[in-house]
Amino acid sequence: MIYAGIDAGSRTVKAILLDGKELRVLASGIADQGIKQADLAESLLKDILKKAGINRKDVGKIIATGYGRNAIDFADTTITEITCHACGVHHWIPQARTVVDIGGQDSKVLRLEPDGGVRDFVMNDRCAAGTGRFLEVVAAKLEVSLNDLGGMAQRAKKASAISSMCVVFAETEIIGLLASGETPENIVAGVQMSITSRITSMAGRNITDPVVFTGGVALIPGMDKALESAINHKIIISPEPQMTGALGAAILAGREGLEHVSIIG
């Protein structure tokens, strides 16, 4: 049986088709988020079904997760992104005990049980300072693309000190730093440090190795090093970090589908 997971995040929507028996990803896709979230997700699902040559009626169950999960009206059910990210990361890296997920507009730290279940979690979705949104703001201010930020941070001689606790004020601070002659590279490195220090204060003292980094921000070069330095633990970037939520949703759809089969069987 084939199962689908859809992660309707704040910046992008992701979808995965999974072979429920072999737990093998058959197809996946990603699209920018928009106002008509259900339509976007439906269209993405159609695209990946086509790509994999699979008929919609062969999909046993669809689970939606993410910020916009309740808008995905064609999903069979919804599960929070906390549970789905834990499941997705555990699939890739079964020994993971801590997951740091930094997305476009939120960030979370999950502590996992040895079997991949969630032991505990903390989440920040009220302040942009610990999220990918901060990187978008600095990229816009420096007139570079998000993809350029990693290279810039690597060329930095010294990370600028960004002391503001709020992205709005940090933006003003960045203007001041540029005016005082600070290099854009140092500023980008400083912003990366600022984001990861927010994660550190959110995570508290209870970080257990191995720590896996997931979410779209994990794709930006240098963020893993900044995180590693901030939390003082070695970081493993999850395979396909943007897709772990959708993958977890698809795996959980498979589990729920199997439970259903065993009940009716």
Partner: protein, 460 residues
């Protein structure tokens, strides 16, 4: 008439009220449809879901008519005492006298909980320099200034010392506006040194005998002031009778909590239980009526339990809740997300313990005051929470922070760490502002994730 337990909206209560009236149900003198409070400005009621029992209707009506009772007390010539930053000690003394009504001006923090911003009390507090960096209890200052919620008390009594810093600052501001306050000092509860004689306190704590003696002497000053105002003595006999009545309220609440937390089907929603628990502090300005309201509620839930009916599935996740919320919708949200209340610490759990009757009554009140979770260490509070978790079988804990409340910022992490390490339970920390509209979706995600986490743990 359908009497099955159900959570209903205000509009559904309109219809249900007509049904109850047609059925000839007895209403207390303050009874009536809940809709009338919406017309008076209690806008939040339209967004809540309520228990559909007549007993809960009485509870809501009792709560929402407190201002009327206070104004009636004034007209009757009763002496009115505002007992501030006192979670259940001075009111016991006050209600020992027949011509005194005590109330809890701090309770005005509830005003935005039911009126949202329509009362304007927070804006008044802002204008007096007590802005949102303070606890929402600052609404009390606005309520004093607007005089729209309660009559000016004949006497204001306020504890100070090892209490809430925010509240002390707010009460001092009130004092500065010309309201005389009788301050009494409460000490920070500490463990006795080796050479000090120890006293056991309700709730399982202990402190040096010297602390009890000091607090008792402070309460004696308050007692004298109340006697002088009322023109009669609070003798030991009267005080013991007052303590027995307060203990009856506490007994009812303990049973209500025990039954609600442990029944297979939850017999009472979290919102109504929260309001019922608040009666322990100040009796909603009528001690005898508090007893009647609580006994009605108890009777209803006993009936529900014996009939095997209640709310939610039996597999609803059992949540222990720490601190009251400033937006009441969050209590509804917990249940919408698959949780049920199973243990609470709304900062006054000592007011649910019985006041000792085998010692001198003033000494007993001093011990109660020192058992207040706010005057001891957070570690003590966390320990009591862990004990209750064990007692009620809670599966997860939510620590709800109150924005601006300085104690919340400090306590949350300590309580969470203690619960995680001692009870091995998941803990969720949230913050609930008086208007939580913008964060309800994210609160929904967190509460749902906590419920999912517990359900996953159950499979192991």
């Amino acid at each position: 008439m359908n009497l099955a337990p159900k959570k209903i909206t205000l509009t559904e209560w309109d219809e249900r009220f007509i049904e109850l009236q047609s059925a000839g149900i007895n209403q207390p003198k303050y009874g009536g449809p809940l809709r009338r409070y919406l017309t008076d400005g209690d806008l939040r009621l339209e967004k809540l879901k309520f228990d559909n029992s007549p007993a809960s209707l009485n509870l809501w009506n009792f709560l929402l008519t407190e201002e009327d009772r206070l104004h009636a007390s004034r007209k009757e010539g009763r002496k009115i005492i505002g007992t501030m930053k006192d979670l259940g000690t001075v009111p016991v003394m006050a209600y020992s006298l027949p011509n005194v009504t005590a109330f809890y001006p701090d309770g005005a923090w509830w005003t935005p909980c039911v009126m949202e911003m329509s009362s304007g009390v927070l804006a008044v507090a802002d204008s007096l320099g007590i802005d949102e960096s303070f606890c929402p209890v600052r609404a009390m200052l606005g309520a004093f200034v607007t005089k729209a919620h309660f009559p000016d008390p004949d006497l204001i009594v306020c504890s100070v010392g090892a209490t809430c810093d925010d509240f002390s600052a707010i009460a001092q501001r009130l004092n500065g506006l010309g309201y005389p306050i009788l301050w009494w000092e409460i000490l920070h509860r500490r463990k006795p040194e080796r050479n000090e004689q120890s006293v056991k306190l309700p709730g399982g704590f202990e402190c040096p005998v010297g602390q009890v003696e000091f607090v008792e002497s402070e309460l004696q000053r308050v007692k004298l002031a109340i006697e002088s105002l009322a023109g009669m003595k609070i003798d030991d006999k009267r005080l013991c009778t007052g303590i027995k009545t307060a203990n009856k309220v506490r007994q009812y609440l303990r049973e209500l909590r025990q039954l609600t937390f442990t029944a297979r089907f939850c017999p009472l929603p979290a919102l109504e239980l929260l309001i019922a628990e608040m009666l322990a502090i100040h009796f909603c300005s009528d001690q005898q009526e508090s007893l009647d309201v609580l006994s009605g509620l108890l009777e209803e839930i006993r009936k529900r339990i014996s009939a095997g009916v209640g709310f939610f599935d039996p597999d609803a996740v059992r949540i222990f809740w720490v601190n009251p919320v400033a937006d009441l919708r969050v209590m509804n949200l917990l249940e919408d997300c698959g949780g049920r209340i199973c243990g609470t610490d709304y900062l006054f759990c000592h007011a649910l313990d019985e006041i000792p009757l085998d010692i001198h009554p003033m000494n007993a009140l001093a011990r109660m005051a020192l058992a207040d979770p706010m005057v001891g260490s957070t570690g003590d509070r966390a320990q009591r929470i862990c004990n209750d978790i064990g007692l009620f079988g809670s599966e997860a804990v939510i620590v709800s922070r109150i924005p601006g409340a300085s104690h919340c910022a400090l306590e949350g992490a300590i309580i969470a760490d203690e619960v995680r390490s001692k009870m091995r339970l998941p803990v969720l920390e949230i913050e609930v502002p008086p208007l939580a509209d913008s964060i309800l979706p994210s609160l929904n995600t967190r509460l749902t994730a906590l419920v999912e986490t517990v359900k996953e743990r159950r499979k192991k």
